[in-house]
């Protein structure tokens, strides 16, 4: 290792001791990405109070409106009310703005859930492979096999086999992510178990399970958090792709991919039906990726040296 790198690490370690929160606040990528993400989460939670209507409502009289046009919409009680279509309407007369705002919910839920599911299974498999020697070979060969199949194809095929619902979409997107987490955790475990404090614990007769969860797992946290944000970003993209291709969540569910899939048909005349959800999608993924890069630089300086 290069001497300056050691200094940098010592400096970062000192900084982290002095207050992790302060270090994170000092990183502009964490602050920018985190703020945008927090704002989006707020939008998702407050969706009903942001001037939206039920995103599945449609009105034949309000089809194909341009952004900003005033039209009418019939609510579930059968009343017809005037409504301003901030982002226009689609071919069924649904309010794009409401659908985009509600779509934030689906994207964030899928992103977070996929990250958690794949981290959970990846950590379990990685700990097992790194610690139980006889399992290592078999498990890692299976993981190699899964990694050889392009992730999107696995997701598409699984969603096609099971009926698409929120749960199946989340699992289908999470499965191809598991091998990467497994590999990461396994390599971390293999290096951490050589550390003096683990050897000390072993020689003191600490039980294997306690070593795994008490000594090794906490030290894998920083890279796992970073990996988790990247998985979240990619899961949001994959969910949008599945919806866009027409194999994701049912088409009346307001997801950004579904809005774009419908907008695709009339793209030449009404490009905004593709652009508005597209901008939200790109912004969300960008914010999460920035947050991930910032976290990587602050939490895991060794990894940031590598790429």
């Amino acid at each position: 290792m290069h001497p300056t790198e050691l200094d940098a690490e010592a400096a970062v370690a000192a900084q982290i001791k002095g207050g992790l929160w302060r270090t994170l606040r000092g990183n502009w990528a964490v602050v920018t990405g985190g703020s945008v993400l927090a704002l989006l989460a707020l939008v998702a939670l407050a969706a009903p109070w942001l001037g939206t209507v039920d995103p599945t409502l449609f009105d034949p009289a309000s089809r194909d409106l341009l952004p900003g046009a005033i039209g009418e919409i019939t609510n579930l009680d059968g009343e017809t009310i005037a409504h301003k279509f901030l982002m226009g309407s689609d071919g069924f007369g649904r309010d794009i703005y409401s659908r985009v705002i509600y779509g934030t919910r689906v994207s964030l839920i899928v992103g977070a859930a996929v990250a958690l599911v794949s981290l959970f299974f990846g950590v379990s498999c990685g700990l097992a492979a790194g610690y139980i020697r006889w399992l290592d070979g078999v498990l890692m060969r299976v993981m190699d096999g899964v990694m050889a199949i392009p992730g999107i194809l696995i997701a598409i095929a699984l969603v096609a086999l099971w009926k698409a619902s929120l749960v199946t979409v989340i699992i289908a997107i999470a499965i191809p992510e598991i091998p990467r987490v497994t590999r990461l955790v396994r390599s971390l475990v293999l290096s951490i178990r050589e550390e003096p404090y683990v050897e000390a614990a072993v020689s003191l007769g600490t039980r294997t399970l306690k070593i795994m969860f008490g000594h090794i797992l906490p030290n894998t946290m920083a890279p796992l958090i970073v990996q988790g944000t990247y998985i979240c970003a990619s899961a949001i993209l994959v969910e949008a792709i599945l919806s866009f291709l027409g194999v994701g969540l049912p088409t009346d569910t307001p997801t950004w991919g579904n809005i774009m899939a419908e907008g695709r048909v009339q793209f030449n005349d009404f490009p905004h039906n593709v652009f508005f959800p597209g901008v939200f999608l790109a912004l969300t993924v960008l914010a999460i990726n920035m947050l991930g890069d910032g976290l990587r630089d602050t939490l895991d300086p060794r990894m940031s040296k590598r790429i």
Binding site: G145, I152, L153, I156, A157, W162, P271, N289
Partner: protein
């Protein structure tokens, strides 16, 4: 050399085998009668009975896999009842656009990203470096289809420079063939460029800090020669590695790009097969893409011998 080849092949075969097992299990672990699922909506009861007998569904799962794998080895990927032809014929029909699009994209990406990455590493911290790092974060974040539609909107609809969508076979004219591939290749290459440029930058930065670079500069070699012959040449292994790994990204992108640009290739076939729930085709395409991915990475491994003569296995 020969032992290296043999060892790499020996490592590749288990991966291919596991891919085959996984693709086989995908259908068997799903509730429902595999024969009915494979037949899809387009087959009649006699065909279902025929499929059931052909799969050996009344026998153990190991025997079933044996039958299926035997067919696979003899080049029989089954029959698509939806498209009314064998899966192998189907793939052969649809492969040209995908191959053309992928090759265009790879060549374009490498031509753009490697020089950019080298320049960014050479003037680290400069405006190009920062612009490139910003672009690469953006490139990872803007979805392929959003980018595709932005390009269609500006270049084809507003400026009218290139055709909006579709594909023209190579045999039907060289220029129309090229013109239809320009926008899809650019769309698909952005994420790939971001990836390769980032790794090139990191790898060249590392080699530029080596002692032999200082030596080369000290003996008065022109800077271009130092950067290209000494720094880039020694950074080649990680760069070709990421080009190989990035193929997975490319395959995912092909599925989306072919849908955006209405290109009748394997990516579009995958989506059509899923929408029609045509499982022999889905299995066939997944196997095809995965095998291609594994074999390309085998070639990448072999190329280490050329790029880094120190490697002797």
């Amino acid at each position: 050399m020969f032992t290296f080849l043999a060892r790499r092949l020996a490592a590749t075969i288990p991966v291919l085998l596991i891919v085959a097992v996984l693709v086989f299990l995908m259908l068997r672990l799903t509730p429902g009668d595999p024969a009915v699922i494979i037949a899809g909506d387009a087959a009649n009861p006699e065909q279902v009975a025929q499929i059931r007998a052909g799969l050996g569904l009344d026998r153990s799962i190991v025997v079933q896999f044996g039958i299926w794998f035997g067919n696979l080895l003899s080049g029989n990927l089954g029959e698509s009842y939806y498209f009314k032809m064998t899966v192998v014929e189907l793939i052969a029909h649809r492969i040209e656009p995908t191959l053309a699009l992928s090759l265009f994209t790879i060549v374009l990406s490498v031509l753009v990203s490697v020089p950019l990455g080298v320049l960014a590493a050479w003037r680290q911290g400069g405006w190009l470096d920062r612009a490139l790092m910003g672009f690469s974060v953006l490139g990872f974040s803007v979805p392929v289809f959003v980018l595709g539609y932005i390009l269609i909107y500006i270049v084809s609809l507003k400026l009218g420079w290139l055709p909006v969508q579709g594909y023209v076979r190579f045999a039907d004219g060289f220029w129309p063939f090229i013109r239809h591939l320009i926008l899809p290749s650019i769309t698909l290459s952005v994420i790939y460029i971001a990836l390769i440029a980032r790794v090139t930058r990191a790898a060249v930065t590392e080699t530029l800090a080596e002692d032999y670079i200082r030596t080369a500069r000290a003996k008065g070699l022109p800077e271009a020669r130092v950067v290209i012959h000494h720094a880039l040449a020694n950074a080649a292994v990680p760069i070709v590695t990421v080009i190989g790994i990035g193929i997975a990204l490319l395959i995912g992108g092909v599925v989306v790009t072919e849908t955006v640009y209405a290109i009748p290739g394997l990516g579009r076939l995958t989506v059509d097969a899923v929408l029609a729930r045509d499982f022999p085709t889905i299995q066939g395409v997944i196997l095809f893409f995965s095998f291609a991915y594994v074999l390309i990475n085998l070639l990448v491994d072999l190329s280490y011998l050329f790029f880094d003569p120190r490697i002797r296995y």
